[in-house]
């Protein structure tokens, strides 16, 4: 029951946080910024609209938003929020959920290619290339976690007595993981310095350009899916930073949602104090995150002892 409740809470709260990023960016730019609930308003607005489909697109195009949305919700079902048990959990679920996210991406890409727009093909190529590199970092993290816990389940990582945390014995390694995971978060969620979610320049876009042709409820699904994806990665980082070892309580839950805001503030600060990378620098950035985790994995092998 608690697991279910926390999942519902997470699903409801996810669109709030991107509003925080906008507020932080507005603060740095000396502006008032949009209201905190802007993303809810946007979703509501989009859901009330109709969708427009190009005559040159096929059923694949309509499939894109639905599948990618489902693939974004899916990982959250496996996530033990604030120390509560996961709603669903089994041995090997982490591998599955990262690949389910991969399926979501696959359908976004296929839908983009279906439009036959030269921009979208370009964006698709970039997205696939960069996320392939990010996958390296993610699986290096999973290897490390396996070595630390002997498990391949999110529930075992973050729920119960023996959890992975910064405060644990292998805390030094987790620092590397947190940094790497934050870099992956920026990449996977198309944030500065990898991508610029606010730009209107199609030629520079990575993710945004792939969804240019989607409109109305389709776009709402894509947006909502993006919020969930970002929420998943942010929650992952928070669970690593702060150990929710105590049995589940309302206080823990509250603390979790407050700490979550920190990740989004960090994203907002980064977007305000640095410019985007040149496109050819992005792979180096992503591979750096892999190198960090890989280093941590080597340390667990006991070679240096």
């Amino acid at each position: 029951m608690i697991s279910f409740l926390s999942l519902v809470l997470a699903l409801l709260a996810a669109p709030l946080y991107p509003g925080i990023i906008l507020k932080v960016k507005a603060f740095f730019a000396g502006k008032k910024g949009p209201p905190l609930l802007i993303k809810y308003y946007t979703l509501l607005k989009l859901l009330q609209k109709g969708s427009v489909y190009s005559t040159s697109s096929s059923f694949v195009f309509t499939l894109g938003p639905v599948v990618s949305f489902a693939a974004a919700i899916f990982p959250l079902c496996f996530f033990p929020f604030a120390g509560s048990a996961s709603l669903v959990s089994f041995y090997g679920d982490v591998v599955l959920l990262f690949y389910i996210m991969g399926i979501g991406r696959f359908f976004t890409v296929v839908a983009a290619l279906d439009t036959a727009s030269p921009f979208e093909g370009m964006g698709a190529a970039r997205e696939v290339f960069f996320s392939t590199l990010a996958e390296l970092a993610i699986f290096a993290i999973l290897i490390l976690f396996y070595r630390l816990t002997g498990s391949l389940s999110l529930n075992d990582y973050f729920h119960g007595e023996n959890i992975i945390t910064l405060a644990g014995v292998s805390g030094a390694l987790i620092v590397l993981v947190i940094v790497a995971l934050f870099m992956v978060l920026l990449t996977e969620n198309s944030r500065v310095p990898v991508d610029d979610p606010a730009t209107h320049l199609e030629l520079t876009m990575i993710h945004e350009v792939m969804i240019l042709d989607h409109s109305g409820p389709d776009l709402a699904l894509i947006e909502l899916g993006a919020f969930y994806k970002l929420f998943f990665y942010a929650a992952f980082i928070i669970q690593l930073i702060f150990p929710f070892t105590a049995p589940f309580s309302i206080l823990n839950m509250l603390l979790f949602f407050i700490l979550m805001a920190l990740v989004y503030v960090a994203v907002g600060v980064i977007e305000s104090i640095m410019a985007r990378f040149k496109m050819d620098l992005v792979p180096k950035f992503i591979l750096t995150s892999f190198a960090l985790v890989f280093f941590a994995v080597i340390l667990t092998m006991g070679v240096l002892q």
């Binding site: 960016k25 740095f28 730019a29 000396g30 502006k31 030269p118 921009f119 093909g121 370009m122 500065v192 310095p193 610029d196 606010a198 730009t199 209107h200 320049l201 199609e202 030629l203 520079t204 977007e271 305000s272 104090i273 640095m274 410019a275 985007r276 990378f277 040149k278 496109m279 050819d280 620098l281």
Partner: protein, 506 residues
């Protein structure tokens, strides 16, 4: 060069004194001139009594004029002499149906039927929708893909079509096709009553309202023998500098926004508004429309306006320095700006780039220094330190010009205050222009060299009006910037030039 006539910027001359030479001599004189660090200011055709003429105004440290009579076909200078003639010859072919023989890439400029009724050089049927139906330069190969952008763009920019030939992320060639906003201004102006001419010239390019209108007014003043008061001259310079400031600051903000570095984008956006508001203080219009009129200015700058200007400048000058520092010291921004969209000095000189685009490549030409009008001969010149030809240089040139312009305005304000005589506001009234005369005016608009030329007929009516916006030179520079660049750097390169679509399309 001996057969060219040296002329002065904004001084009308009798048409009879313009050297009319045989084409061979025209060809060799221009070849020699252009090859020896000479540049083209105007190169246009006109017809008289069923004969076609081409008139060229060229510059090195002085301005020269030369003309020739041609048949419906003439030998292209682009093919044999210099790329500087490229766009001009295409324009001649389009406007008058005269074919430049041996032109390497004879293609339409703005898509309109020619003025003379000669058979179309490009074999177009203008009853059809031609834009988009043109065959573009193509690169062939398995790994090549073509990206077409525009003419309708995201955001609020003007229409223009960009065709990229790419290998992966790398751009091999960019072809720019404009003309979507062709309004036929050159053809319209001679038919207009004088009262409407300044209003039309202010609308040639909305961001260069002062620059273009100044060129028109100086030309009319020269043809009509009008004198303008020193006070009006100072006000015009201040307006021109305010226009430069507003646009340069806006551009720095936009450059910053394009690399997703938000704070300077917002600050500069706000500061740009402050300068537009100062133009409003001068004349009641944020773009300076309705200020400059033949014979002077339509709004006198009084003590109240001077004080408002002084106070505002004192307030925002430190802010501008601060935000410039913020932008130019951010290493992530420099990583994007440096070595992006580089055009070498040789290339820039071959193409004849003007304005900040040229200065960023090391071509120091500034019309305010070379051919000063109004009170620019008494003002200090600017010099640029960063001239590598990349986006960073174009941004730095803007920064230096902003600081220079702020200094100029302060000096101009002091000068204006020291004036003794009473000023009078002028309104456009019909004046008689000198018959059979020719005048060319050159001013340094914020984007670069703006030039207008007027030919009058025997009755003293405008026979041919020729306009040249700096964008006419510089669009090719943008195309060259993109060679072997990442396609994702295009928006940044484009913004670093910030060229005018409507100023080109006329």
């Amino acid at each position: 060069m001996d057969n060219m006539l040296k002329i002065t910027n904004g001084q009308a001359i009798a048409r009879a004194s313009i050297p009319l030479v045989p084409f061979e001599s025209f060809f060799t004189s221009l070849s020699t001139f252009v090859k020896n660090d000479g540049y083209i200011v105007q190169f246009f055709a006109f017809t008289e009594e069923d004969k076609n003429f081409i008139l060229a105004v060229v510059r090195n440290s002085d301005l020269y004029v030369i003309s020739t009579e041609v048949g419906s076909i003439f030998q292209s200078l682009t093919g044999q002499v210099s790329e500087k003639f490229h766009m001009f010859e295409r324009e001649v072919a389009e406007q008058y149906g005269l074919r430049p023989d041996g032109h390497p890439w004879l293609k339409m400029v703005r898509y309109h039927p020619n003025y003379t009724g000669y058979p179309d050089v490009f074999d177009n049927d203008y009853a059809e929708e031609i834009p988009g139906n043109y065959s573009y330069f193509q690169v062939k190969g398995e790994a090549i893909h073509e990206v077409g952008v525009g003419p309708v763009h995201a955001g609020i920019i003007e229409p223009g079509h960009f065709r990229f030939q790419c290998a992966g992320e790398e751009v091999l060639h960019l072809e720019i096709q404009l003309g979507y906003q062709h309004r036929g201004i050159e053809k319209m102006l001679p038919t207009m009553p004088m009262k409407r001419m300044p209003i039309i010239c202010e609308a040639i390019a909305g961001d260069t309202a002062i620059g273009h209108n100044l060129c028109l007014c100086q030309a009319i003043e020269s043809l009509a023998g009008m004198q303008i008061e020193p006070g009006a001259s100072i006000t015009r310079c201040i307006a021109l500098e305010l226009e430069r400031l507003a646009n340069h600051i806006g551009d720095l903000g936009a450059l910053s926004g394009d690399v997703a570095f938000n704070p300077p984008a917002s600050y500069f956006g706000r500061i740009r508004g402050e300068f537009l508001n100062l133009l409003q203080v001068l004349c009641g219009n944020r773009f300076g429309k309705g200020l400059v009129r033949p014979g002077g200015v339509a709004h006198i700058m009084g003590e109240e306006q001077r004080q408002l200007l002084r106070d505002k400048l004192a307030e925002i000058t430190p802010e501008i320095e601060h935000v410039c520092d913020l932008l130019f010291t951010a290493h992530t921004v420099l990583a994007r700006f440096e070595h992006t969209g580089t055009v070498s000095k040789e290339m820039a000189s071959d193409l004849g780039l003007v304005g900040y685009a040229g200065r960023a490549c090391g071509l120091a030409y500034d019309a305010r220094v070379a051919f000063p009008t109004e009170c620019y001969q008494d003002l200090p010149a600017n010099s640029n330190k960063v001239t590598d030809g990349d986006v960073n240089s174009r941004a730095w040139v803007r920064r230096e010009e902003i600081m220079h312009s702020l200094q100029l305005i302060t000096m101009l304000l002091a000068k204006h205050e020291a004036l003794m005589e009473e000023e009078k506001a002028v309104q456009t009234r019909p004046v008689n222009l000198a018959a059979d005369s020719f005048v060319v005016t050159v001013n340094e608009g914020w984007r670069g060299e703006v030039s207008h030329a007027i030919l009058t007929d025997r009755q003293g009516d405008v026979q041919r009006y020729k306009i040249k916006d700096p964008s006419f030179h510089n669009w090719t520079g943008l195309a060259m910037s993109l060679r072997n660049q990442g396609i994702s750097d295009f928006p940044l390169c484009n913004k670093s030039y910030n060229l005018s679509y409507c100023g080109f399309d006329l």
